[in-house]
């Protein structure tokens, strides 16, 4: 399957190295040797781990390690179904939906396409893991990146499942649901427009593959599913490790001190949302349990979390390239905090 020309050495290579400690990652990728070695390397790795499982289990039996592994496995197991759903959708878009469809469905002026795509995010049921591959497929299908970005940011926060969960978690303040919807849509559109004004196409990684890879549509479909699962899945593991480390190591008591000052409280919950990387379907319950914080701070938590967190950053790096992710993440963070505080001041 000839997938693409080799990517420009700088960006692609740097991205693919970003899995630190990738087991058996091996030195220099000799193209011919690589094909022969990876199944062998995998077999050896499986054998070694199975043979050494006794000592490995012993080393992992400390309570910190156990708790770390439980959260790590939990984040991966919880996210994989949604990742697979997103990957199937993205493969279907990439293979079966002609680019002309999007040209007709979206307004031709990007400034108008952004809010339309933002509202369209409401139809993707699931959490943020599904939206990254779908947004990637949209860009490859010729949708203007500004609109794809609005979709990427709004989909995990404003779909009915997430809004219902928010309503259940905040039974006494229904305005929280409205505020979450309004703030998320606002920030998603603002980011889309910002990209349209300032974004540069060369920040985005060139399309990872041609739309058809030789063989038939079936082959292209399964090839796309395989590539996205392996790729986004690897980055999901990076994010899950970061989230598990935070959950297992960081003390919860500092939150109490942070809640006292309104300014610090907003920043603390924004940073917490990034670090915890909780699925957007569950974050409302966590926000509701942070009882010592102001409603605006909780809203910031709910708006920032689905837009940017460690897991998402890793996955965006994988899909759109590091140059994009490094610029996109801080801008999203700042705009999300500002948007949520503004909305909170008006609605809460």
């Amino acid at each position: 399957m000839a997938i693409t020309r080799p990517a420009p050495p700088g960006s692609a290579h740097a991205d693919e190295r970003s899995g630190p400690g990738a087991p058996a990652g091996g030195p220099g990728p000799e193209r011919d040797g690589w094909h022969l070695t990876s199944p062998v390397a995998l077999t050896l790795l499986l054998l070694v781990v199975v043979v050494a499982q006794g000592p490995l289990r012993g080393a992992l039996s400390a309570p910190v390690m156990q708790s770390w592994m439980t959260v790590f496995v939990a984040v991966v197991v919880q996210a994989l179904p949604f990742l697979v759903l997103g990957v199937l959708l993205s493969a279907a878009i990439a293979v079966f939906v002609p680019p002309s469809f999007f040209a007709r469905a979206l307004p031709s002026r990007p400034a108008l396409a952004v809010p339309v795509a933002g509202v369209a995010g409401a139809v993707l049921p699931g959490c943020e893991c599904a939206s990254v591959p779908v947004a990637g497929a949209l860009v490859r299908r010729g949708v203007t990146p500004a609109a794809a970005i609005a979709f990427l940011l709004s989909a995990p926060a404003i779909n009915p499942i997430v809004l219902t969960a928010t309503a259940v978690a905040f039974p006494r303040d229904p305005e929280m649901v409205l505020a979450r919807f309004a703030a998320s849509l606002l920030v998603a559109c603002a980011m889309g427009w910002l990209w349209q004004r300032l974004g540069r196409a060369d920040w985005l990684r060139p399309p990872a593959r041609a739309s058809h890879e030789g063989g038939g549509k079936g082959e292209a479909f399964w090839g796309s599913v395989r590539h996205d699962v392996m790729h986004a899945g690897g980055f999901l593991v990076v994010g899950a490790m970061a989230a598990a480390t935070l959950k297992a190591v960081a003390p919860a008591s500092w939150l109490r001190t942070a809640a006292g000052n309104p300014f610090v409280a907003v920043l603390a919950l924004a940073v917490l949302a990034v670090l915890l990387s909780i699925c957007s379907e569950a974050d409302a319950f966590v926000a509701a349990s942070l009882t010592q914080f102001s409603p605006t701070a909780k809203l910031v938590f709910l708006v920032v979390g689905p837009m940017i967190d460690l897991k998402l950053f890793a996955m965006q790096t994988g899909t759109f390239g590091r140059r994009f992710a490094l610029r996109f993440a801080p801008a999203t963070f700042v705009l999300a905090v500002l948007g949520a505080v503004l909305t909170g001041a008006v609605l809460l």
Binding site: M1, T4, E16, S18, G233, A244, R256, C279
Partner: protein, 239 residues
């Protein structure tokens, strides 16, 4: 990682998800309602692995066009073996006393108090007891013999708690709800032991040192160790 190796990893991850979903192992990590999605995604991964192998084999038989060698597959994919090993070889237990002691009690005011059955002793969940004791002032449970199941956690001073982790989606958002034990508490308590405690409501309360949340006491009359329940988490907040 080339395509054969990728399909092996995908097959194993898919099989591990199917195994976890069918055996109930998944309940240690995620909410029960995720089971159909887990099984479906496991099946999709297995099918993708088989389709990849099939297309790869057909390609082998086809006359060799220049393919594949120009493209390097992402090496980050190797990381997918980590959750695989963790799930298959280690299968870490559900969150226990380590997390419970480090996190503040997450007790929320219940929306309503359901009518309780007349049985004696009255089986009650940790979350239900704590909610009725703290916010309902024990009205519906005062004077009755109660039976509550949870695991043991000891705080820094060695004071015993009966805990259940309440879960909304996955273990990353699990939060403990705690009951402090008083009365005839067994003299030696091992953290993470699951206990079925019999006891009675008492109005005494304390505060969680982590988040200052309310923790009710339970006046224990008896306790016996029980095996870990099928679903170790409390999922009542999901409904």
């Amino acid at each position: 990682m080339n395509r054969q190796a990728q399909s092996v990893v995908m097959f194993l991850v898919g099989a591990a998800l199917l195994h976890a979903g069918l055996s109930g192992l998944y309940l240690r990590y995620v909410k029960a309602a995720l089971q159909p999605l887990l099984l479906a995604s496991g099946a999709v991964l297995v099918v993708t692995a088989l389709m990849t192998l099939w297309y790869e084999r057909r390609r082998r038989h086809a006359p060799e066009e220049e393919h594949g060698h120009a493209h390097r597959e992402p090496r980050v994919s190797w990381l997918l073996v980590l959750p695989l090993f963790a799930l298959i070889l280690v299968a870490p237990p559900a969150l226990g006393s380590y997390s419970a002691v480090r996190t503040g009690t997450a007790l929320q005011k219940p929306y309503a108090y359901e009518a309780l059955p007349k049985s004696d002793p009255l089986p009650l969940s940790v979350v239900d007891y704590a909610g009725r004791a703290v916010y309902g002032h024990g009205r519906s449970i005062a004077g009755r013999r109660l039976r509550i199941t949870g695991f043991v956690a000891l705080d820094r001073g060695g004071a015993p708690y009966l805990v259940r982790m309440a879960l909304n989606c996955c273990a990353a958002d699990a939060q403990p709800v705690k009951i402090a034990l008083t009365g005839h508490v067994p003299p030696v308590l091992e953290p993470d032991t699951w206990l079925e405690v019999t006891g009675a409501y008492t109005a005494r309360q304390t505060r969680d040192p982590v988040n200052n949340g309310p923790i009710p006491y339970l006046d224990v009359t008896g306790a016996r160790p029980v095996p870990t329940p099928h679903d170790p988490y409390d999922e009542t907040w999901n409904q």
